[in-house]
Every structure is written in structure tokens, then in C-alpha cells.
Subunit: 301 residues, 2 copies
């Protein structure tokens, strides 16, 4: 393991522990009347998960001089949205997945009704966190902007629209352009939200640099998905923590089904270069973002 | 039809038309990439529905001198939360209802996956409306308080907790205290939110009067549910727009199963009196609220 990778791995472990602890505490501060629901919420949002979005948000925010605790609040909210989307995507009516992060999915563990409800309540929790969690004084006024970013990225303008296109596309061939749009909405919107949240919490950043960071997020968002599609073919279930080959089993449109394995690897390389190019024009120390980008495109799970 | 009932009926019809129109417009202003999802969202949130919550919010807000358009924004948001909860409650894994407001439920009409997603996206839309919809100038700073009220009433502190207790209670006997708590969370929280939203948008109101309005909302929230349980026994499917007797069929705990039909009617009368008593101590013209209360406890569907 190289020094830079070791440093990224430390960031990841620190974040995982810190976000878990803060989320656990925040959930415990909520009502205690619905124990089953709270158990199901914690099961999906705590423990496990690569915390890709908090890593991106934390590295960008750190680069822009944002307060660490404020960034954590944004990360907690984003992770609630992400966890809710995974619970609902895994449901029998959607992808019908039984395994996620090496554990039974929520509906297998708690039953379908509680899983639906846990997803619902995690979405609400994302907004409760961003609206109520203490923020450093100068950032309290930025709450509403942060909440707007999260709502826009999650709803019918973002993640839900992507999932809707995914539903229509499953079992039906769609064009590469449509596949790209699907993932720009389903995965990309939440990654771009990390850029917006980091920029809101930054001490100072100009519009042009925000734009470059969004271009960067666009490239790594697609790269993330292309890598996912490649891993679904070349990896194994144990490493992935979810069933390998599930895209093929569901007859899903993927970058591999469109471009082939080699074509997908070339496309991944192209996106990787584009991401690094966006970073190159920024007047910040982008070393950690570069390392993060390398990690994303070469990740094993 | 008496004069006061006619006036309430006019308020209801005006509200239904106005809220429908504004919601339709707001949804159309969102992305147009997910037509199926948008159709499913509109199907459940537009057309039909008694608009009980907007009526309560509108009457309280009007009594307190709030801006009508601002109240409409709050109503639109509340109705998105309400519609999402109905879609998810009707799912096969939950109550498995095929009929709602005289129409096929969302999952019957659009399939289960799209129904789940439409519920998800409507929850997000509730926050998008409250965070983004134009408000009269002096109320822009109140957005965050309004968003907090909606989040608290919907999530693990409110509606979702109530639904979770409902899941556990279905098929298992619970105490009258637990049944009361269930409905205070599942239905009451969103009705109380209407009081909070009205108070936020009011030109001026003291803490004691807000408290009286919350006590009023608590009474009518339970009264609403007791009436619902009575109607499930004494009405018919055509009038209700949903299957009569479904509580019994699902072996649900209801006020009728606990108190009997006559006992429930007495309890309803007691709650009605309590509601009117809370209003009597308020220094406002509460005539419309009284009429609304009478309508709620004697409604036929």
C-alpha cells in the first residue's frame, strides 16, 4: 500500500467511525417509541458502506477551508439519503436483492413493510439532520441552501428520476445516451450534491471553480458506475458484498453490455483523465482528490 | 345544507381547486425526464382527497392573519407528505389496499416499484416546495421553521413512528393507550403540524394560544380517527371510496374494537366537546374552526 493510499484509507476509517458515531447519537436523540423502526434504520445507515460521498465531501470541504463538524452534518444527511435509496432499490418490487454490504438486505432482515418504512424515515431524517443539527455559527444561515441541494439531488430532479428511468430500462434496451443520463441522475446527482455542499460550507470559492468541481464530480460519477458495471462482471460476490452478476441476471443495461469489457475499461480511463483534467485547473492543493479519484476507478468492491 | 356548512363547502372546493392547480404547476416546473414517475405522483396528489389538512391550516392561518399564498405553500407541502404516506400504506406489504378515493391505488395503477418511487419522490417534493416556493417577503426567514415542522411531523418522531406501531399492532392486541399513541403519531402529528405552520405564518400569536390550538388539534386528530373507525363499520365502500370493513379484515385494533360502536360514539362526542372547549378560550373569531370541527366529527366519508 502506497503512502497516499494509506492516507486515504485513514481518512476513510476516521470518517466511517465519526459519521457512524454521530448518526447513532442523533438517531438516539429521536423518539424512542418505535424501536423496530429505529433498529431497521440503524441497520442500514450504520456500519459498513464505503462512505464514498462523505469522503468526497470531506476532501473537497477540507480543501476549501470548511469546518469539519459542519461537513460531517452534511455527510450524515447525504448518507441517510443514500441508505434509504439502497433499502428501497433492494426491495422485491425493485431489484429484489437479498445481500448488501455482505449482510442480508433490510427487507430480508426486517420484512418488507418495515424496510419500506425505514427507507421513508431515513429520507425524513436526512432533512431533520440538515435542519436541526448544530452548525458553526457562520454556517447556520446556510442551512436552507444545504437542504435545497439535498432535496434537488434526491427527488424527481435527481436520484428518483434516475431510478424511474432504471425501472423502465430494466429488460428493455436503451441507448448509451439514456444509460448515461440514468446514471447521471441516479448516482451522479448525489455526488454533485457533495460538491455543492462543500462549496456552500467553503470560506470562499468563485463560480468558475465550483463549475470545475461539478465537471469533476460528473466525470467521477460516471467513472464510479462504469467501474461498478465492470466489477459486476469480473469480481465475485464475497469481495463485492452483494451478488456478482446481478446486472446480467436482471437483464440490465450496463456500460459493459453496451461497450463490452474492453470498451468499458477504455471509457473508464477516459473519464479518469477528464476528472484529473478538471482538477488540474483548480488553484487548490488537489492531491487528496487525485488520490481519491485513483481509488474510485481502481476499487475492488 | 345550513349556511355555515355551505361556507365550509365553498372553502373546501376553493382550496381543492387552488392547491391542485398550484401543485400541478410546481410539479410541471420540475424535470421532464421521468414521465412515468411524474404521472404516478400527480395521480396520487392531485384530484380527490378531502384536503382536511389544507382546510385546517387555511382556517387557522386565516384566523391569525397569515398570507393566503404562504398558507397554500404549506398546504401543498403537507399534502405531498400525506399523499406519499397513503401510497406506501396501501402497498401489498403494508395494508394491501386496492381502492383509495374511489380509484385504484397507486401500485394497482402503476405497479409496485413505481408506487414506492412515487411515494419517495413526493416526500422529497414536500421539502422542495417548502424550501423553494416563493413566499411573501417577510416569511422567507420562516422557511426553515416550516421545514422543521414538516420533517418532525413526518419522520421517526411522528407519522413514520405511528405507522411502525401500526405494523406491530396489526394482528396483535394492543392497549387503548397504545392505540391512542399510534393515532396521535400516525394522523395527529400532521394535523398538529398544521397548527404549528399556521402559527409560524401568523402575524402575531402568543405561546398560550398556540398551546390551546395544539390541544384543539390533538382532540380533532383523535376524533378524526374515531370517526374513521366508526365509518369503517357503519358506512359502505362506495361512500368511503375505499373498501368498507378493511380494518376488521386486517384484524386491526380500532376504537370500535376496543370501545364498541356506542362507546366510540360517546368518545367521539367527548373529543368533540374538548375541541370546542379549547377554541372557547381563544380570543379570535373561531366560528369557521367550529364549523370545521362539526364537519369532521359528522363526516360521511
Amino acid at each position: 500500500m502506497s503512502l497516499v493510499t494509506a492516507s486515504l484509507s485513514t481518512i476513510q476509517q476516521d470518517l466511517q467511525a465519526r459519521i457512524d458515531q454521530k448518526l447513532d447519537l442523533f438517531i438516539d436523540q429521536q423518539t424512542q417509541v418505535a424501536d423496530d423502526l429505529i433498529s431497521a434504520m440503524k441497520y442500514s445507515v450504520l456500519g459498513g458502506g464505503k462512505r464514498i460521498r462523505p469522503m468526497l465531501l470531506s476532501i473537497i470541504g477540507n480543501m476549501l477551508g470548511a469546518d469539519r463538524d459542519d461537513l460531517d452534518v452534511a455527510s450524515m444527511s447525504i448518507e441517510c439519503i443514500h441508505a434509504y435509496s439502497l433499502i428501497h432499490d433492494d426491495l422485491p418490487a425493485m431489484d429484489n436483492d437479498a445481500l448488501r454490504r455482505g449482510k442480508p438486505t433490510s427487507h430480508i432482515q426486517f420484512g418488507e413493510a418495515t424496510a419500506i418504512l425505514a427507507g421513508d424515515a431515513l429520507q425524513t431524517l436526512a432533512f431533520e439532520i440538515i435542519l436541526n443539527h448544530p452548525l458553526s455559527e457562520q454556517n447556520s444561515v446556510k442551512r436552507i441552501d444545504m437542504a435545497k441541494v439535498i432535496a434537488k439531488a434526491s427527488g424527481v430532479n435527481g436520484m428518483c428520476a434516475g431510478q424511474s428511468i432504471d425501472l423502465i430500462a430494466t429488460g428493455n434496451e436503451i441507448s448509451l445516451t439514456q444509460l448515461t443520463q440514468l446514471h447521471q441522475l441516479k448516482t451522479g446527482a448525489l455526488l454533485s450534491a457533495c460538491v455543492s455542499l462543500g462549496a456552500i460550507l467553503a470560506t470562499d470559492i468563485c463560480v468558475e471553480h465550483i463549475q470545475l468541481l461539478h465537471e469533476y464530480a460528473g466525470s467521477i460519477g460516471l467513472a464510479f458506475q462504469v467501474r461498478d458495471d465492470i466489477l459486476d462482471v469480473v469480481s465475485d460476490s464475497e469481495t463485492l458484498g452483494k451478488p456478482q452478476g446481478s446486472d446480467t441476471a436482471l437483464n440490465k443495461n450496463t456500460f459493459v453490455s453496451h461497450l463490452g469489457l474492453q470498451g468499458s475499461q477504455s471509457y473508464l480511463q477516459k473519464l479518469h483523465n477528464e476528472a484529473l483534467q478538471s482538477l488540474a485547473s483548480l488553484p487548490y492543493n488537489t492531491q487528496e482528490l487525485k488520490t481519491f479519484t485513483n481509488f474510485l476507478v481502481s476499487r475492488k468492491y
